[in-house]
Symmetry: C2
């Protein structure tokens, strides 16, 4: 009845049965992410998620897709794949949380040349754990075994969908001169800038993931690079519950300060940031020194220790900082909104 | 102000400015996919899509993620990347349409070692055109340039989200013995089985994409392999408009007949299929002959000319076939539902 192991296909490098077996090992973790709105899987072609209409007046779906980038290659160098699942989930959540959306469900894609255990289960467990931590359902996913592609590498892609009531969308439109810019601390590069970091640290600097340069205070280069992307949704959710006026939020990903903050700025305002209110993490200092990279370039490529910024009226800054502290995030005032042209300037680097 | 071209990052192999420039070239096509529910992009961290609540009583979101697989390598061999965007969009739409969901918005991910033009624009144009053809908004996307990964290859991932009212979900639960199995013709491999096909045709058979074996009647191997995945949503949509009793639909992807049809079968019924009602396309016959592959294996790996099956009451079969014809699809009765154990048997291959 066609149920025999597909041996010819396996010989061509695609093992459907192995994929099913490995998936079964993490099924419990995946099931644990099911919110009540997730309907029992039917047929399994698509995942089903019922919108709870009692909670929304004008529900707006917010979707985003992203990848982990060459941080995956660092994970490969370290044979440590438990964290990249957290990276992709948290990155995706942040990208929609900055618009005020509650993340609802996540779907993953893993592409690899040859399915490998335990790498595969480690990645999926990380995804499921990160989803569970933020009450996000892991609704579906695809694993593509592509012989002849990828070599020993793999790619990891995530897709998030969330919802926000239209009148609670955070748009940036209400940002005005005089508003306060709050930075929420990052724990490292998150998922951006790894191509430059790898080049500077490993090629130019001759370091390995095991190196422990004095600048890192006992931490290895690999440990500093592999830390999972911080998820800021708990702080945003709490601030929204308290109706704090979060007028504009920016997730500092590729493009750093200079490209991300302007994404939410009205054209007639600008932002002036101050360095030093949040520490520039040692890994960034090391990269800057070894690469001979100027400060502007560093702030264009990396988050430099600030993973997210919030723009709030000055009168609300204290409450916003309190919410961050209450939800476990280090945060500080890092700048102010000024009249401007929709761009960001950093005191000490740019003419202010 | 940090607006200079990020030259160091570019030297490390990531060219943010080039990505923006190439994206601008296809902006008009992307904009043309905007449905009224798609809100103006704000900030651009996530895409926004407002659910039209006047159209649904109990909206259930249906999501799916998928890739194109090693069909991308065939596209590479042919330097022909206009169709793979259609592949990923149509594959994703089919995966949720089989549950009755109207596709709403799509997001893409393209991973490559080095951004290349015109490959990149060709892929994105294909995606946008395929979205436009089915009234799907291209809501967002991510292009990841990952130096050191992928070599000359690239990966293409799609994520679709749609909606269906809960009481219109197509679940398979109502499939009963005596129901008719209708097959909708495929135009080729769609997006599955390319690893085996490449091995058989190129490695074992010594063919190239330019070869024109007699079996293909003047078509080249590449032409036969590159045809874009058929999108069956227009037929499903029309059948739903007419309230035809579509009790179970299966999209024949990886796993062919044997693994996909059971995904929607109740455990106490089976399906018996007849070969020959729809033609087995020449490319499948060529692969089978060159690879010395038995019929069961062929029907487990490939769609064999049947891209989708519908299970409907016998009394509705004629109307269902008429809907297929009206919407431009070749379709035929290819089997029947019987008492069974949730599996599929093919007359002439399996004991029936």
């Amino acid at each position: 009845m066609g149920k025999s192991k597909s041996t010819l296909y396996a010989a061509a490098g695609v093992d459907i049965d192995l994929a099913v077996n490995l998936l079964n090992r993490v099924k419990a973790k995946i099931s644990a992410t099911r919110r009540p709105e997730a309907l029992a899987p039917i047929g399994g072609f698509g995942g089903l998620f019922q919108i709870d209409l009692s909670r929304y007046r004008q529900p707006v779906l917010v979707g985003s897709v992203d990848g982990v980038g060459t941080k995956l290659m660092v994970a490969g160098m370290m044979s440590e794949h438990r964290f990249v699942g957290h990276d992709i989930v948290n990155h995706c959540i942040n990208d929609i949380a900055v618009q005020g959306a509650e993340p609802l469900y996540f779907m993953d894609y893993i592409g690899m040349g040859k399915l490998r255990s335990p790498l595969y289960e480690q990645v999926l467990e990380g995804i499921a754990d990160a989803c569970k931590a933020q009450n996000v359902t892991l609704l579906g996913g695809e694993t593509a075994e592509m012989p002849g592609m990828y070599g020993n590498d793999y790619d990891l892609v995530g897709c998030i969908n969330g919802v926000v009531d239209k009148d609670r969308l955070i748009t940036g439109e209400q940002i005005r001169p005089g508003h306060t810019v709050i930075g929420l601390a990052s724990n490292g590069l998150h998922t951006n800038g790894y191509s430059l970091a790898r080049r500077v640290l490993f090629e130019q600097g001759g370091l390995t993931v095991h190196s422990q340069p004095a600048e890192l205070g006992g931490e290895s280069v690999g440990q500093a690079l592999i830390k999972p992307h911080t998820c800021y949704w708990p702080a945003i959710r709490r601030a929204m519950e308290l109706n704090l006026p979060l007028h504009g939020l920016a997730h500092l990903t590729g493009g750093g300060f200079y490209d991300n903050i302007p994404r939410v700025l009205p054209k007639e305002v600008g932002v002036v940031c101050n360095l030093g209110a949040l520490p520039i993490l040692p890994i960034f200092q090391l990269i800057q020194k070894l690469g001979g990279i100027d400060g502007i370039e560093m702030h264009r490529v990396f988050n430099m220790g600030v993973g997210m910024v919030w723009m709030v009226p000055a009168a609300a800054a204290k409450d916003a900082l309190a919410v961050c502290a209450e939800t476990g995030f280090t945060a500080a005032v890092i700048g102010e909104v000024t009249p401007g042209d929709g761009t960001v300037r950093i005191r000490g680097l740019d003419p202010v």
